[in-house]
Amino acid sequence: MSAVRLAAVSVLLLALASTSRLSAHIGSPDVFYEGKAGPYPLLVTIRPPDVIPGVATVEVRSLAPGVREIHLTPTPMTGEASKHPPVADIAQRSVLNANEFTGSLWLMSFGSWEVHVRVDGEQGTGEIAVPVSAVATKIKPIQPGVAYFLIGMMVFLTAGMVAIVGASVREAQLPVGAPSKSWTRSGIIGMAIAAAVLAAALWYGGKWWGDDAAAYRQKLYKPLGIKATLSNPDRLDLRLDEPGWLALRRLDDLTPDHDHLMHLFLVRWPSMDVVYHLHPDETAPGYFAILLPSLQAGHYRIYGDIVHENGLAETAAGEIDLPEITEGKPLAFDDAGGPLAVSETDSFDLGDGYRMVWLRTPGVPITAKKAYSFLFEILDPTGQPTADLEPYMGMGGHAEVIKKDGSVFAHIHPTGTVPMGSMAIASPASMLAMRETNPGPIVSFPYGMPTPGVYRIFVQLKRNSHVETGGFNVAVQ
């Protein structure tokens, strides 16, 4: 590959690397899951690789003592390959914290995978399968040092081979002790031929590299878009916009997640002072529609969470300018939201003396990439935790985490970031147990912010047949 070609490819790769990471959520590829493997409560964090095939890092924190050993096994979530797991890896116990384990696993192909976490301990054996999406999100740029080394070696090796060929033609068959010849006609011809052959080989190598890079670039994850239009005057029509990714993604294979094919979030932007969690109906494969509630005019960001039947979860994103809607459809069933006066403290006023409170230690900073259990509760006018929390769409609560610069959106539950539609495919038994859970009075959301910055967390808890939505700002270091 010529130096110019190598430099050009390096620049291209650097540009590609700046593409933001996108997966099931937006800008938040890590999987956080809190649940039970048999009798053992665990907080599992899976950090998928940027490239596929690649290595995922798995961190398991046991929330109770008594764990002796943890085994990790990755398998595709569906299909024949899901029935034939490789030998399990044993996670390494942390020397600093006996309840923390880490391991790494290869994810070999694109699509939806699950990591089987098997726990051996004092109470016997327990297992849980945690879904994880395996998609390539970027091409790692070549480090300048490596690029300079490769360019230098390319020049050195090319010149060296031309000189070796010249020497072989010129001197290799001279009698021992005979004076060497500096230049001969045949030597020059040999060197010219060698230079031409090497130039052709480098050109072909560069083309091959470029073709491989282009083929891989085609596989990089391309998120679904949402094209939204308003009509009639409160009907919002949505069309999933396929930008042309791998053939494995279809739009006619969506599976319900909490009984809905799509969870739609409308967030007024950039103030984030209005948020709705709605559930449009599918009118045709890839097409959805909903009658909007009365809402304030403004520019809205649209996030649509969907799950494919192979377990692959995605967030489709779009934008729309909406006029004020005064006579919209009243919120009903699982739809919720409205204008919010976001709290700068850990307490959010819900009205009528009720407050939603974020339970966290004052002064302790939140760090990016670290797994936390964010705890929330609702206090009644007397300051006592309410005991009447109800499941909201089968979960103890829902929360949306949005970064102020718009680069992160995550829809999380008390079980973590894994959509329940995916969980139902990976681990139907645990899914059943979750639905039976009565939440509260404290509801936990396991999550870790992917990057430093200012985030807003919208928390939705249901009590007395009404969904309460609270909003909190948090600066992440």
């Binding site: 490789p86 070999m108 070696m153 090796l157 068959q173």
Partner: protein, 395 residues
Amino acid sequence: MATSLPIQTRARVYAPDGAAQAAGSIPWYIWLSVAGVTSAVIGVHWDISWHRSIGRDTFWTPAHIAIQLCGVIAGITCGYLILATTFTKSALRAASVNVLGFRGPLGAFLCAWGGFTMITSAPFDDWWHSAYGLDVKILSPPHVLLAVGMLAVQIGALLLVAAQMNRVPGQQARRRLENLFLYLAGMILIVLLILVLEYTHRVFLHTAICYRVIAMLTPIVLAIASRATGRRWAATIVSSIYFLFVLALLWILPLFPAQPKLGPVLHEVTQFIPAGFPLLIVVAAFLLDWIWPRISGWGEWKRAAVSGVVFLASLLAVEWPFADLLQSTVGRNAFFGSIYFDYNQSPLGYAATYRFVPFETPMEFRVGLLIALACAIVSFRLGFRTGDWLRRVRR
């Protein structure tokens, strides 16, 4: 043929091969080069077996280290040889060539070049994996760079041996160097046939493309070995080295336990999976060795044409029915090796169901064989010419 001239015979303690020359023994750098080549050939087969049975690896697997050891040995050994020849009053200086102002044996320069190329491929391959994911194919740009480097080290070692062989006094010393030359040619044949391993699996042995790739790569090595050494049974020896080496791996590798660490695991694997039974090139090589002295007076192209026909016809005559045997129940044992499957090989695929790949029409097959014959003839012609050239190398 020019008479070999003795090199400056005054032994010097600092002379890279002066002492060896004086004693008529094989210089240390030739032994090290041969060791490096052997390490790489074992490493490549080991690495392929690793991927077929365990699947997952890091840069620091024993197989990778064995491969890179070749580059390190070649780079250091020949780098030292070149520096010593250039900057000291080495006895070898009289039998050296000039490359970019440095002096040393031609083979040393090629070995060093190959060593540097192999070492260059390591960070390239490491970045390639991190940028595009783990390779699931043999042929990628960094892997080809590694293969080119490895081949350069092998050819460099061959040149070192050839030059020494052509100038060494005494028949006994020459004969030992001829043996080393034939051994290296065998190693080169093994590596070349690794490159086309995917086309020489037992399920391809009834296709023309299989014979085409064999006909491209094998004759040139056999012809070089025969012409450069002048040995009566050179081709037979070289192909026997390939045969015995691959056969040994077939019988030895499964003795070591291994478990798949990547999924899906479609075949239960409990030991290292070897390459299949070696090709029966040795039969064709024997016939070539037998016929070459009988047509020594013919023109080069005519000899190449006869050699091509003999090679392809005899290979087909033995390999075709032998493939039937490998696919039959007779072949399904540890001796013939048709019982071994990669951990992720489809249970419904051709190999697991003992079916031949049927992708060529009868016409395509016939045309393919004609192309294979043409490839064999050209390969022999190139081999004769290169072998003659090597026979005259002194430096």
